[in-house]
Assembly symmetry: D4
Amino acid sequence: ARQGVAECVYTPGKRPEEVVAIVAELLAHATGPVLATRADPDTAQAVLAAHPAGRYDPQARLLAWRPAPPRGFRLAVLTAGTADWPVAAEAAAVARAVGLEVDVYRDVGVAGLHRLLDCVDAVTAHHAVVVVAGMEGALASVVGGLVAHPVIAVPTSTGYGAGLEGVTALLAMLSSCAAGLTVVNIDSGFGAAMAAHRLATAMAAAAGPGGGPHRAGPAGAGGTGGAA
Amino acid sequence: ARQGVAECVYTPGKRPEEVVAIVAELLAHATGPVLATRADPDTAQAVLAAHPAGRYDPQARLLAWRPAPPRGFRLAVLTAGTADWPVAAEAAAVARAVGLEVDVYRDVGVAGLHRLLDCVDAVTAHHAVVVVAGMEGALASVVGGLVAHPVIAVPTSTGYGAGLEGVTALLAMLSSCAAGLTVVNIDSGFGAAMAAHRLATAMAAAAGPGGGPHRAGPAGAGGTGGAA
Amino acid sequence: ARQGVAECVYTPGKRPEEVVAIVAELLAHATGPVLATRADPDTAQAVLAAHPAGRYDPQARLLAWRPAPPRGFRLAVLTAGTADWPVAAEAAAVARAVGLEVDVYRDVGVAGLHRLLDCVDAVTAHHAVVVVAGMEGALASVVGGLVAHPVIAVPTSTGYGAGLEGVTALLAMLSSCAAGLTVVNIDSGFGAAMAAHRLATAMAAAAGPGGGPHRAGPAGAGGTGGAA
Amino acid sequence: ARQGVAECVYTPGKRPEEVVAIVAELLAHATGPVLATRADPDTAQAVLAAHPAGRYDPQARLLAWRPAPPRGFRLAVLTAGTADWPVAAEAAAVARAVGLEVDVYRDVGVAGLHRLLDCVDAVTAHHAVVVVAGMEGALASVVGGLVAHPVIAVPTSTGYGAGLEGVTALLAMLSSCAAGLTVVNIDSGFGAAMAAHRLATAMAAAAGPGGGPHRAGPAGAGGTGGAA
Amino acid sequence: ARQGVAECVYTPGKRPEEVVAIVAELLAHATGPVLATRADPDTAQAVLAAHPAGRYDPQARLLAWRPAPPRGFRLAVLTAGTADWPVAAEAAAVARAVGLEVDVYRDVGVAGLHRLLDCVDAVTAHHAVVVVAGMEGALASVVGGLVAHPVIAVPTSTGYGAGLEGVTALLAMLSSCAAGLTVVNIDSGFGAAMAAHRLATAMAAAAGPGGGPHRAGPAGAGGTGGAA
Amino acid sequence: ARQGVAECVYTPGKRPEEVVAIVAELLAHATGPVLATRADPDTAQAVLAAHPAGRYDPQARLLAWRPAPPRGFRLAVLTAGTADWPVAAEAAAVARAVGLEVDVYRDVGVAGLHRLLDCVDAVTAHHAVVVVAGMEGALASVVGGLVAHPVIAVPTSTGYGAGLEGVTALLAMLSSCAAGLTVVNIDSGFGAAMAAHRLATAMAAAAGPGGGPHRAGPAGAGGTGGAA
Amino acid sequence: ARQGVAECVYTPGKRPEEVVAIVAELLAHATGPVLATRADPDTAQAVLAAHPAGRYDPQARLLAWRPAPPRGFRLAVLTAGTADWPVAAEAAAVARAVGLEVDVYRDVGVAGLHRLLDCVDAVTAHHAVVVVAGMEGALASVVGGLVAHPVIAVPTSTGYGAGLEGVTALLAMLSSCAAGLTVVNIDSGFGAAMAAHRLATAMAAAAGPGGGPHRAGPAGAGGTGGAA
Amino acid sequence: ARQGVAECVYTPGKRPEEVVAIVAELLAHATGPVLATRADPDTAQAVLAAHPAGRYDPQARLLAWRPAPPRGFRLAVLTAGTADWPVAAEAAAVARAVGLEVDVYRDVGVAGLHRLLDCVDAVTAHHAVVVVAGMEGALASVVGGLVAHPVIAVPTSTGYGAGLEGVTALLAMLSSCAAGLTVVNIDSGFGAAMAAHRLATAMAAAAGPGGGPHRAGPAGAGGTGGAA
Ligand SMILES: Nc1ncnc2c1ncn2[C@@H]1O[C@H](COP(=O)(O)O)[C@@H](O)[C@H]1O
Ligand SMILES: Nc1ncnc2c1ncn2[C@@H]1O[C@H](COP(=O)(O)O)[C@@H](O)[C@H]1O
Ligand SMILES: Nc1ncnc2c1ncn2[C@@H]1O[C@H](COP(=O)(O)O)[C@@H](O)[C@H]1O
Ligand SMILES: Nc1ncnc2c1ncn2[C@@H]1O[C@H](COP(=O)(O)O)[C@@H](O)[C@H]1O
Ligand SMILES: [Mg+2]
Ligand SMILES: [Mg+2]
Ligand SMILES: [Mg+2]
Ligand SMILES: [Mg+2]
Ligand SMILES: [Mg+2]
Ligand SMILES: [Mg+2]
Ligand SMILES: [Mg+2]
Ligand SMILES: [Mg+2]
């Protein structure tokens, strides 16, 4: 992989020694960030014992080695409720590991609209917005109507019954009456961060010498590429 | 049936002469309002020819005979988008036919939050609120957070793709993060009006002589009962 | 929050110390009831140790502080079968905590119709009815045909196979042939109680000085507002 | 095929000349009833022109040749609402064509419980009961609790929205709290009649000389066998 | 309850002492069989300690007190595969407890057709057939084509992936090309036995003095009635 | 494209002139068969007017130019019911157009098992078997248990209600208790024929000089490749 | 609305005169582009008669007035198959109307991988990529692995059977193994264009004087905001 | 069973002693391979203690006795990601046990296309290809476009959220734009191997003396038959 590209391992279903081996290979053959997502504390401890230069964020369940330096791209992450926090934490931690600057706005769900309205100005001072919401996911629609920014909506599996493990929030966000929302998989804080990473890469390329779009070669396996 | 009780015919799948016969029987054996819902213009014309004392509302697709006099119960009906209008029209027309006073607030969907906020004060001057919304149905959550009133949410089948013919709005409303919302069937303006009618009946009974709850006997077939 | 408004915490997925902190904040900044729902006994014990003025109802899994005084609104809660009891218990406990008077009628499912018919008279002496039923949820339809009251139907996830974890009862209640039923989320005794609370608030406002509807300001986060 | 066995053609998707040819073959090679189900009037007319000994029932959409003589088995068919009539008509017509005696009880849905209770005594004077109901299908549960007879429940696709084209009634009937209900496919009046036919065959065999169970050989293609 | 009527408790979700109390009441107030289904060994032991006259069948997970004497009705129970055995065991044990005579034919699934064909003659010597099958449930269709008897199909949740926890077998049985099959809930050996019990009751009534249909009064709560 | 490779156009949603243009291009730039599937008679006529060397099979709705010569691979196509014929016709016509020899066995569904057993010997004289069945699709399981051949199962959308437009047959075939069945999309006679074509290609390569597997280069766009 | 903001009407379900009126209002009160989507030719003609300054694109079914001038943002739109063209046409036309420069790459589906690989270099010379694909939607994953750009995936409802009207492509795109893809509603070329529009707005703001993020005020109803 | 036929036990849900007994019977009455699938280590150890001639593959969770000798049929097994390995291991182990030669190509998912392209030449040197992929399953489509071989696609339940436990990959593979793919059940490495076994049997028969198709008698229970 190339400079600045993140390599990611999805740890569930892999034994610690398998993760250790994959991380070893990625650290050896790539030069950018190396991430291991959804790592429980035991796995994290075992993997860090073998690769002690990394850091573990227990709320995000993220292991990260060689995080990228800040790239001047500011990302706002909003959560609807307390239960959405682990997903937002993953989004924020992954985004920071790939070089984005992240501000988080918690518990600004639509049932208490004033809290959301209070932070809209702060949110608009960012380049893009990630909205993390479960249950009916209405926060994405409201934010989409309030800002003209790219909005990446992450449905979460919080809630019960008719929430259908996040499927309801997913369908609702896709059906939103606010034009131009984009959506990633249920609980995928990782996916949202990677989508923001693609935005940041495009924006950096456009602002670079020549002002044209980036012309990255093919992204590495599981990576997201990026111009030098 | 008893005084003030609405008798209702669901016309789809019935031939005009069948509707004529059922309406004839209801007008003869009951004394309150008689309604025929979802009537297309041709059916309406044929049925009115036989029972000319009724009125047809083409937007609501409602035929109504012997509408109830106003009962002092004020109902606010909100719609998210233009496409939700036919369902809201049915809710309003049925509610009026059973004696409620209705004000409609159109196109106050959450993608344009200011329009909704502009009418909140007017909405709170009612006894209950019906929210008609399709796509992701977020309007119900936002309204539920803004008012302390009984909220009856009606999902509509407007939208496409992930909207799943109204199922997405239905599930979203049931999963709402605003506490105490109630929901009726997809596109059921009729159901929302009848639920409001039950509220009005309970409220009238509570406010009546003795101040106690109403003690209506069993409701008639398809009706909603209510003591004089 | 304002006088009489309930503030509610959903405890699943939160650690005891998180619940302790949120409850502390709510007790400090609001004046009405504070509730923590779905609390297992260990969480309950830990939270009560920090906030000993509350009470725990193990069947309802509810922690409640500063319950509201009775408001003169009588709510009937009916259950179809024994397995529906925990959901009904939650409905009853939450309703009592926000000031409603509750009578429960257990095991009146439609397979033994006489037991239901025996209690109809007693049920009609209330202001509204909550019907808690799983499996096929037929009890809601039968009750809706027997009484003219507001009916709030709560589908439960009891049953197996084709019951689809409560989805079948949910869809059945929404499709009911009894006009004007309203429905809340699967297993949401809390939602039913909060919907009843909205009815009680509206009814109290209507019966108050001036006789008009209530004009509450916006409800607090997760709360349901209430007239001063 | 053998004496008393019904041979059935499902006409949708077949051209009239195809139906004519299949019926010709069945009339030639079998000796019992020959049926063609779901025949629209045009198909019926074309097929009867070629095989004029048959009769067409337009409500049941059934063509029948060589109906079986009465077999002393009495079947009660109950419908919940007017819209369920075509399915009940198919059940009744097919049942009669295979030799059962049928009484129909219409519009006895659970929203008007007294009408159902009024006919329970008459219903119990039959050998088995077919319940035809759409929407939430609650009628099957209530009937199943009221009688000790074999109950064959037929969900119908009447209703809209959450009724999911009959799937809700189907799931509800399968999840019924009344023990020992059996269910056939959505809108399958034909299937219910054929299930009753199997009951009648078994009962006739049990009551025959020797009093033992029937020992029919294998049923013909699509047929339902029958005692010698 | 009346002579011969089974009273049934569904034990999952109830604590042993609750089951003990319900069984005590049923033994005291009814005279026929009392059953407790889906009882795990610990619950069974605890309940039998309090009511030692009962018997526990660990494969069927059934507790039974006062089983009915044989009624001369022979029921064949067929299973497709080894994994379907627990459901078939429940069907057989419940059927025996309510007085039916049961023969079980195991592992006669359609992938080894000769085994099924070998037992068809023996199967036809019964009054009715219960088919227990998971995965694609094809056994029900094949049996339905081979015998003219009443067939009660029980889909099981065995299998994985596209088997959808029994939903596939359920839908397949309902869609069967063999006319007149009836279906009960997924894994409901109990439901199948109770449906057979209804058949046996009807058949006994028809064969009784007068030869007419049975005229049972209303069935008890959760029971299945019975002739006087 | 290369010698022997089929190029296929899916006509629904394309205007006749679009099909004409695509076919023109395929005839010019490829040398093997050119097919246009799902062509209604009007489209077929218009396209044949422009490319008169082709042939139209109205039952299969297939247009074919330059059919491949026979390749010595014999394919048996079985259908469960009359309504499955159009799908089987497409399978047979496409298979013949790519050079396979096809025998069709109609109406051998499992409800009349003897008809199926009568043709098993003839079926086993082929290299592979395509099973076309709707409703519950049980025919695939039974055939899979009777023969050791490759079995390609095609679920069809015939049937109603619980058949879910072919989804039930699809799931049932995937869950089959007969080991080693393979499945293609609902109603995809085309897909089954193309899968058989892949088998024939592999078999021809294995039997060719050297006896090794075929080493085709990449297949053309939408084609299925084939050794020279 | 503000300079550069698009106002959009969704025409299905609205009568031509309703569209005329809404467009009139939007042209009068806003200054940026006005769009009417999904307009059939008759509606288009009627609306253009009243507002002749607009243009109609029949393939995109789009009516547009006052298109925005080019903004220097280059968007690549890729389609998998011929049948996906109408959705891609909508994406391209809406994107152009809001000021983006669009290049379309047609029929580059994964079954003919070389065609896709041939255009990758050209695609990477854009700022962002829209991928339009139906059936299994695999094109989005492959493109996401090949480029480091923002990818907006649009599932289409082309295909049949297991394609489930676009739901399969939607779920597949959301589950993609390529990190950081974003997804919009089924067939929503409009949504993809609006998402790209949000990207362009953010990029323009970032590249503007001061180099910071854009600080747009709230977007208008249904609009997408825009820098001053 | 006959020479070369595999007999298979599915172990989940069976106690070790049950597996021991079934294996004993199969070893005694059949002469070919005997397999026990999905065996966890404890079960494996217990069964091997009783039947020590077998071997256990812990990754494939397969127990095998009397593996078949190599038959000259080469099978390529491809996996998309690391998490798909257990399913691929089962496919490979079962295929080897029935006499196929297997090469596995790991981690060639479409997000890193170059790895896949690097192995295409090696893959084409086989007789058939099994593709094991979860998430969106795009690998099957890409492989199907690259090779002309029979392709057996195995969807896996890896992934989360919109992956729906493998249902998304299943539907995607069935909807593939690559013509002639075949699909087996989710996670069914066993089913894929057995489908390949059927291919090998057909190919061996075609290449045998006489060159005709194989004329196997009926396959044994759960087996796949095969000519001597
Ligand atoms: N939390 C996550 N959610 C979704 N995809 C992930 C996650 N973490 C890693 N991935 C992706 O999973 C793939 C690696 O899968 P594997 O080979 O099983 O480790 C890479 O393509 C990553 O982009
Ligand atoms: N209305 C109906 N509903 C369900 N199955 C039917 C119906 N009418 C006929 N059949 C069955 O359809 C089969 C005949 O199908 P076909 O060969 O397509 O005419 C026979 O097995 C009949 O039992
Ligand atoms: N009846 C059919 N069912 C499924 N796919 C088909 C059918 N006919 C053609 N195709 C495929 O559709 C693709 C052509 O799609 P299109 O470019 O829209 O014509 C080719 O990959 C064909 O393999
Ligand atoms: N093709 C389309 N797909 C989805 N949403 C649309 C489309 N065209 C317009 N809209 C949105 O529909 C809303 C207008 O709805 P309405 O008031 O019913 O015209 C606006 O929020 C638009 O952003
Ligand atoms: Mg939320
Ligand atoms: Mg809306
Ligand atoms: Mg119930
Ligand atoms: Mg009904
Ligand atoms: Mg089975
Ligand atoms: Mg079939
Ligand atoms: Mg595609
Ligand atoms: Mg994959």
